[in-house]
């Protein structure tokens, strides 16, 4: 096959040192052995060899193959190919390993310093967006004058002591789960359910100190950057492919990206104690809060399974949309558990550290202010509890055999 036409010509081959001589009807060529390669080789099909980048081919009948292998052992005994596989396989593995290394070590290491470089107004803008997102699963409550003043005072105090470049803005929202989080741009949000759990304003101060540290250290921005970089690198590595393996890799990677923020959590705990100390607030507030939270998690983790199972029974019945808030409850709890270091440990650590600090006994806020803060979402919350009770009742109705709705 001369590569010019589909014509076949029978040829004679002879080996002359480092070249293969080909002669046949109107054909006289010399191919260097080094430039030879196999173009087709599989099972009992004839072998086809040719030169790199050339169209001409020689087809070797199966019965002649053994003879040719004696001539061209380097080409035909498969050793070259196995070596190629080894080299390529190991360089690609090294490449994958360094990409992963960059994702898990380089990216987190870079995200902190990079976050410092993000202009303040950009982070503030991001904060507005997060705020809109928070609005999707909660709503803000009308706080009384007194509660607002108390929160504002804490915002200012922690803003100063943490050296935050953002003005802190602490708010209480009405949501179905106990949590506190710092958003980009200095907004700190606490859910009414979390305040409900707290036994004292000192615990509140502990939580706020911790979140202020996240803001001041720009952990929030770093986490956002890390996540963006992560998604991008993953897509690069895996391409658009969607296999089970790829999905596993994706899930594993996003879990791993959460784990690193634990360092940030511990750093925030440490800083929080320093802030409390500097403001002369009870340094045991943080430890005390962790103990409260721990007790709650222990009672809830069993209960949450029941909640989630109860909610699943409704399946995809459209009449019970409010059930999604129950789901959010369980999911959020799981999220809190996975990001935060073991609460028990944190409580112990904070307790030990707090014992080395002194406190004059100055309260965080007055008793009336604390009551006002606790009251912020009460009206909304009660209204909501009523509706959830209705939902549970409704689910019960749906599940009773006499009801026709099941067949929907």
């Amino acid at each position: 096959m001369d590569g010019q036409s589909a014509r076949l010509t029978a040829v004679h081959l002879s080996l002359d040192g480092k070249s293969l001589r080909i002669s046949g009807e109107g054909i006289r060529e010399t191919w260097r052995v080094r430039s030879l390669r196999i173009w087709s080789e599989g099972g009992d099909s004839p072998l086809i060899i040719g030169q790199r980048k050339q169209d001409a081919r020689i087809m070797i009948a199966p019965e002649d193959r053994a003879a040719l292998t004696r001539w061209l052992p380097g080409l035909l005994d498969g050793r070259r190919r196995r070596r190629g596989t080894w080299m390529l396989g190991s360089s690609l593995t090294a490449m994958a390993a360094s990409l992963v290394g960059f994702m898990f070590i380089g990216l987190p290491a870079l995200s902190g310093p990079l976050a410092e470089q993000v202009p303040l107004e950009v982070e503030t803008r991001l904060g507005e967006r997060s705020n809109a997102f928070v609005g999707m699963f909660s709503h803000e409550c009308e706080a009384s004058e007194e509660a607002r003043a108390a929160l504002a005072a804490l915002s200012t105090a922690f803003g100063e002591v943490s050296g935050s470049e953002f003005e802190l803005d602490m708010r209480v929202i009405d949501a179905d789960f106990p949590n506190a989080f710092a958003m980009p741009g200095g907004q700190i949000v606490i859910t009414d359910d979390l305040i409900e759990l707290m036994r004292s304003p000192e615990e509140l101060a502990g939580v706020l100190a911790h979140e202020s540290a996240h803001v001041a250290q720009r952990h929030v921005m770093a986490a956002q950057l890390r996540e963006m970089g992560f998604g991008m690198m993953l897509d690069f590595l895996l391409g658009g492919s969607t296999g089970a393996g790829q999905e596993l890799a994706r899930a594993g990677a996003s879990l791993e990206s959460l784990r690193h923020s634990r360092d940030a959590e511990l750093e925030a705990d440490e800083l929080a104690l320093a802030y409390l100390d500097e403001l002369d607030f009870d340094p045991e507030g943080l430890a005390s809060f962790f103990e409260t939270l721990n007790a709650y998690i222990e009672t809830q983790s069993a209960a949450s399974h029941e909640t989630s199972s109860g909610e699943n029974t409704a399946g995809d019945d459209e009449t019970t949309t409010p059930q999604s808030s129950n789901k959010a409850d369980a999911t959020w709890l799981d999220a809190v558990l996975s990001t935060h270091p073991d609460t028990r440990d944190r409580a112990d650590r904070a307790r030990t550290a707090a014992q080395t600090l002194s406190w004059s006994g100055q309260p965080v806020m007055s008793e009336t202010a604390w009551l006002a803060v606790r009251d912020v979402c009460r009206a909304e919350s009660e209204a909501r509890t009523e509706t959830s009770a209705n939902v549970i009742e409704r689910i019960g109705e749906i599940l009773t055999p006499t009801d026709d709705k099941t067949s929907e």
Partner: protein
């Protein structure tokens, strides 16, 4: 040292045919025992390299399948390389998706949220359009690459024609399919396939397709109707299975359901969906088979015509087996599934008519320099 060896086809009917027209017989001889090592090596290396090996792995599978496909005793060659695929993937990622990503992030970071959402909303339709267009383009590019890297008797296959024309046609026909609730689908399939083969060459000899679009999909509508109504039937089956599985549980448990029941309910939803999909898949088989036959019958090369004598039972056997193979291997045994389909198609292929092969010459068009990056990004390069 100088040895001597006679090579090339022994004097026989095939060589004797040099002066005239030849008929064709196709033989596919891929074997489990030979694809197994390739599959295993690919699986291991894909895991180790976090799937970066996929470009080279895919190339090996193609090389094997091509070289075990013989036409008149002469195997096909796949001359593509893993590096070509990898390089084009890099091009697409860095040249297209990276800027897109960065633009998206920059928009999120720098624009006020309302403005960003507004732009995002405004961009929605154009982006959707762009992606449909790219999907068409990717199909076209991937096919051009594969053909340009396939040769037989030293002669390359070539795909010419216009990518953008094909991409626009994909958008237009997809739109028509949506508007007609899917009833345009067979016509779309046939017309797009026709468009591709119309510009496909073996060397300097062009493949031919019917001149008119009239009745292109004609006989497909019967099987397609089964598929279309099959969708509705499958949904009803799903609902029935779902309800019949859930009813006894609900009646037994009343309002409060312990965790164990929930698992069973989750399972029953999946099971119902599975049964529904199974029914739909089965009812879709006649259409798939008809499509295969009709596409093959549409294409010719000079006086040569093609037939794929696909039958319902045989095709079912291949598809069912492949589904199980892919599911149970978590996709890692894809090459085996590809081999089974490839083997099936060639075993059912009949080539009618004759061609003067001596008159076929190389096409100066060498095809694209690199691979099918766009197709890889959209995950459509996996067909073979």
């Amino acid at each position: 040292m100088s040895d001597e060896l006679v090579e090339g086809p022994a004097p026989g009917p095939r060589v004797a045919a040099t002066d005239g027209r030849t008929g064709f017989t196709v033989l596919q001889s891929a074997k489990w025992r030979e694809i197994m090592p390739i599959t295993l090596l690919n699986a291991v290396l894909n895991i180790l390299t976090l799937s970066l090996w996929r470009f080279w792995g895919r190339t090996r599978v193609r090389r094997y399948l091509w070289s075990t496909t013989q036409i008149n005793g002469i195997p096909l060659e796949y001359t593509g390389t893993g590096f070509e695929l990898f390089r084009s993937f890099l091009f697409v990622m860095l040249g297209f998706f990276l800027p897109l990503y960065l633009g998206f992030f920059a928009g999120q970071l720098l624009l006020p949220p309302e403005e960003f959402m507004l732009y995002l909303g405004l961009a929605y339709l154009p982006v959707l359009l762009l992606f449909t267009w790219l999907l068409g383009a990717a199909t076209w590019i991937a096919r051009r690459y594969r053909f340009s890297r396939t040769s037989w008797r030293g002669i390359r296959f070539v795909q010419t024609g216009s990518m953008s024309q094909f991409a626009w046609a994909t958008i237009g026909y997809s739109l028509l399919s949506v508007i007609t609730l899917g009833w345009f689908e067979p016509v779309k399939e046939m017309r797009l396939t026709k468009m591709l083969w119309r510009y496909t060459w073996f060397g300097d000899t062009k493949f031919n397709v019917p001149a008119s679009n009239q009745n292109l999909a004609g006989s497909l509508f019967g099987p397609y109707a089964i598929y279309w109504f099959g969708g509705i039937i499958a949904y009803i089956v799903f609902a029935v299975v779902y309800v019949s599985l859930l009813m006894p549980l609900m009646q037994a448990e009343g309002g409060t359901a312990p965790a164990e029941i929930t698992l069973r309910m989750m399972f029953s939803i999946y099971f119902a969906a599975f049964v529904g999909m199974l029914v739909w898949g089965l009812l879709g088989l006649p259409y798939q088979v008809a499509l295969l036959r009709r596409k093959a019958a549409m294409v010719g090369l000079d006086d040569v015509r093609f037939r794929i004598h696909a039958g319902l039972l045989g095709y079912f056997w291949v598809v069912a087996g492949n589904t199980l193979i892919i599911v149970f291997s978590l996709g890692l045994a894809l090459p085996i599934a590809q081999m089974r389909m490839w083997r099936y198609i060639f075993s059912k292929m009949e080539v009618l008519g004759e061609l003067d092969l001596d008159a076929v010459h190389q096409n100066p068009n060498k095809g694209p320099g690199s691979g099918e990056g766009l197709a890889d990004a959209f995950d459509i390069g996996n067909v073979i």
